[in-house]
Symmetry: C2
Subunit: 161 residues, 2 copies
Amino acid sequence: MSTTTERITSTDALTFAEALVRFAHVIDHLYVDASRAQGLTPQQANLLCLLIDEPVGMTDISELLHLGRSSLTGLVDRVERRGLVERIPDDRDGRACRIALTGDGLQRALASHANVAQRVEAMVDGMAETDREQVASAITQLLIRHRPAARSNGNRSADQR
Amino acid sequence: MSTTTERITSTDALTFAEALVRFAHVIDHLYVDASRAQGLTPQQANLLCLLIDEPVGMTDISELLHLGRSSLTGLVDRVERRGLVERIPDDRDGRACRIALTGDGLQRALASHANVAQRVEAMVDGMAETDREQVASAITQLLIRHRPAARSNGNRSADQR
DNA sequence: TATTGTTATACTCTATAACTATA
DNA sequence: TATAGTTATAGAGTATAACAATA
């Protein structure tokens, strides 16, 4: 038997769970590499990608990213210092602010997104179209079942991760 | 369209690559939670699980974990300080040492492994047996193709991360 | 009083470069 | 000289608790 995440002592039998975990690690690694290629840490890339559609408030981001608010403050500080995002005061709530991408930030976010996609595609390259579809549908269903926490709140999008 | 990793603005169409990346993030999150349940960081859990079968040398570990040797030194220091592993001098090479689990460490590694497996199983619970098998086989093949770097070296196992 | 976001503090993790002690 | 591992240093990420300003 092999360990949870690190070994493939040949092609010995893997639990379904083990296979999934390893697979996730591989994807994760691609994600880290793709982020670095853009001069970003994976967390920074994550944050930027989250902001592509529209500015988002700190509390919302911290929930989407499963991060404490204070941890997020630091993360935002660092990308703001690099000119990738801006803190925009909220008109309707003096306490709040929303984080918005700068032009540079948007560019970086899109490039990062594209880079990951490209790497994943490369990995999945030889995969049969049938397999691809089946895996996609199975995974999508899992994702849907695992994102039950859709916001009922007006103009906010549902969450993830 | 949604961002690389964070949003599902309903059930809008996801690229195959996007679905995979999100899925990986979800698994990853389970892994982090499972590790924490054992009082470990995910990196520490990773390390301990790597050592379940047998002690491993620093350089080998650093390759398996895709970590710089100096980063590993710190990681090992911290788990050693907690009594979970020991540095065992290598008889055949005065410079080298191998990292071995203590009883406590083994226990923790196994518990961690089991905990992750259980959480993943729970997530995959409702999945049809057919889907499960197909996904498993597709993923396994990807993993095999993506671990070409099998050690030709005698009694060492191939890597992963 | 509750919420939004920040500060203060303390660890863990990571990388780079320089160093030691063997080989 | 090359390799195994460590030390020094610096920055990034995270968590907890205490705090400010606004609601």
